[in-house]
Amino acid sequence: MKAEGKKRVWADYQKDIADDHFFYVRSCIRQTFFPGSEQFFLHLMRKVLGKDVLENPSHTSCTGIGYHSDIVPLRTIMAVVARHFALMKESGYKNIAISCVTSFGIYTEILETWKHFPRELEQTREDLFKATGREFDIPENVAHTSDIIFKFRDEIAQKAKYRLVNRDTGKPLRGVEHIGCHYAKMFPKHGVGGAEFPRVLSGMIESWGGEIVDYPERRHCCGFGFRQYLVQANRGYSLSNTAKKFESMKPFRPDFVLTNCPGCNMFMDKWQYTIKEMDGTVYGEKGESIPILTYEELAGLVMGYNPWDLGLQLHMVQSEPLFRKMGIEFNPDDKYKTKDGRQMPVPQNLINS
């Protein structure tokens, strides 16, 4: 595989990412299932990089999951998104930082719709004003939060305590990157590096010392698929797509998977557990499963933060094998303790732990 060829593709998909003053919109899945990621994003941006990031408590779900499940109509979701833009306008911000790939897809698709169909934009302005009395502006800069981490990846590398290198062998750790369908497949121009050979996550992994695994099903969907998993009887479709990816990556012996999208992270994580329960199949080495990390979690790990503060214990597949490879110091006894040291119940049937 020729690296030069990939660099040529990346050159075609350079994205303008704002430098400061972000209006932050959260992800439903992330703040519920692995909230450490968003927590760390805010800490990193504000405390470490010294950026101004605003969260508005009136921000709601983008309703993307409802939209993709045919529950929320297009006109409604356009009004919801417009309301978020109105909150941003009222707070005096012009750069939106979106913490979820589903939302990012919703925002970019709606902005593109308004560009091509100005009547829809006018309709939305009217709908929002009638419903809430609010007015909104189109954001000047739209970035997914991984775009922002990508932008500051080298600053993070400079502050790193650990590198994505196997402590025993000295070799780079092998990372699978998965950007999620709605990050760039709809609009390759809005994704760092485009859709076929994306750069957003691979850039982080390389900057932090790791090596990219390019496996045959790399571009395949994680299996999330909204309708596939919402209806129990359909979940076989979701599960099978995930299995297809893991079977394809297995021979490359990846040390971890880095995800962009909340849904991808959740399903590549939880379906590994499910498949193991069903027929005993695991995709990592030595009978282990492959840890699935968000970009904030990975950034936090290389920067030497306590894995339990990053919330890594909240995944189904535990990341201890990765900690050991990287040489990260961690205390297993603290894993399920509250901040003030009280012991919480310990989950059963944890994978890799």
């Binding site: 595989m1 020729k2 030069e4 060829g5 990939k6 040529r8 593709v9 485009g194 859709a195 076929e196 050979f197 390019d214 496996y215 045959p216 099903e217 790399r218 571009r219 021979p251 490359f252």
Partner: protein, 342 residues
């Protein structure tokens, strides 16, 4: 008769039209941007449909331009063409001025740059090559994978950069199908035990003896045809290529591992031709080639009096058609100049 004609482009069409005009007594300046004439033919090994060595055609063309009335300027880019009192003044990149009473544009085509079909990974995956790359291997007499191994399973992807709105080319390049058939047969001759697959949307065998060649490829060479356009190429851990294609005749997706994949790059208006169209105000069609004044009886003329077209600068053509089109251009130029420039 002292009429002067400028022919831009020293490929098959340009060489043929220059030779014809020179022998009819015109003073011809033939410019070619490369250091050698011959255009794309120089990069091709064997030609369809009869598998003749391209050097034979090249030597015919070189013979055509070997004439006292022809001034050949190689490594010369024409950077401007202006009309002056019914004649033309062209300027080259090295500031030479060429006066002419008529101009023939034979600026030809560029091969589609296969890396633009990102999903095929040309320039990224080591064993994804273009049809032009394969011809170089034929000329060397050695078909090898990047790692030096002899490939045993080879695929051809038709319509790369043709019939594809995603890359802005809605037209059919017309020759890639038969070129794939020819190359598939040649691969089988070099590598007796190799399995060869052509992935196609339609097999377009419109030229003389093309269909016969296609049949021969199935009957005598065992070339396998799978109807479906390859949607994505990836590499597995052994460096083998995985293609994903819908087998549209079986109505199901198909997956296959291959040692090497050849992308049948289509034809596009040349960059040189595009620049001339821009500065000289020449009309181009939806396909971006020069738009002929009339599709049926004016394919050598455009919208500017005294400017003529020859060959693939107007549409994809094979060598036979390019040469015929060039001869027609020569006849048209002669008529124009001897008929009070009408």
């Amino acid at each position: 008769m002292e009429d002067r004609v400028l022919v831009v482009g020293g490929g098959a069409a340009g060489m043929e039209v220059a030779g014809r005009l020179a022998r009819s007594g015109y003073k011809v300046t033939l410019t070619e941007k490369e250091s050698l004439t011959g255009g794309h033919i120089r990069n091709w090994f064997h030609l369809f449909p009869d598998r003749r060595d391209s050097l034979e055609v090249l030597s015919y063309l070189e013979n055509q331009v070997d004439h006292g009335n022809i001034t050949l300027l190689t490594s010369t880019d024409v950077e401007g063409i202006e009309t002056r009192h019914g004649s033309f003044l062209a300027r080259t990149a090295d500031d030479r001025e060429i006066e002419a009473d008529a101009v023939v544009l034979a600026t030809g085509f560029d091969l589609f740059r296969s890396e633009r079909k990102e999903e095929y990974g040309y320039g990224i995956y080591d064993n994804v090559i273009s049809s032009a790359d394969l011809e170089i291997m034929f000329r060397k007499g050695e078909i090898r994978r990047h790692d030096g191994e002899i490939p045993q399973k080879i695929g051809f992807v038709h319509c790369v950069g043709s019939r594809d709105e995603k890359v802005g080319n809605v037209y059919c390049s017309k020759l890639c199908c038969v070129a794939a058939v020819k190359q598939a047969m040649e691969v089988r001759e070099y590598l007796k035990d190799a399995k060869v697959f052509c992935f196609y949307m339609d097999i377009r065998m419109g030229g003389a003896l093309y269909e016969e060649l296609y049949r021969e490829s199935q009957e005598k060479y065992g070339v396998n045809y799978i109807r479906g356009k390859v949607s994505e190429i990836a590499e597995n851990i052994n460096g083998r290529l995985i293609v994903k294609v819908e087998d549209t005749l079986a109505g199901r997706p198909l997956k296959m591992e291959l040692d090497m994949l050849v992308l049948m790059a289509g034809m596009e208006m040349s960059e040189g031709g595009r620049k001339i169209a821009e500065y000289a105000g020449l009309k181009t069609g939806e396909n971006r080639f020069f738009a002929p004044a009339d599709h049926h009886f004016g394919s050598n003329r455009g919208n500017l009096r005294g400017v003529f077209y020859a060959g693939t600068c107007t549409a994809p053509m094979n060598i036979t058609e390019s040469i015929s089109h060039a001869r027609a251009a020569a006849a048209d130029v002669i008529e124009y100049l001897s008929n009070g420039r009408r």
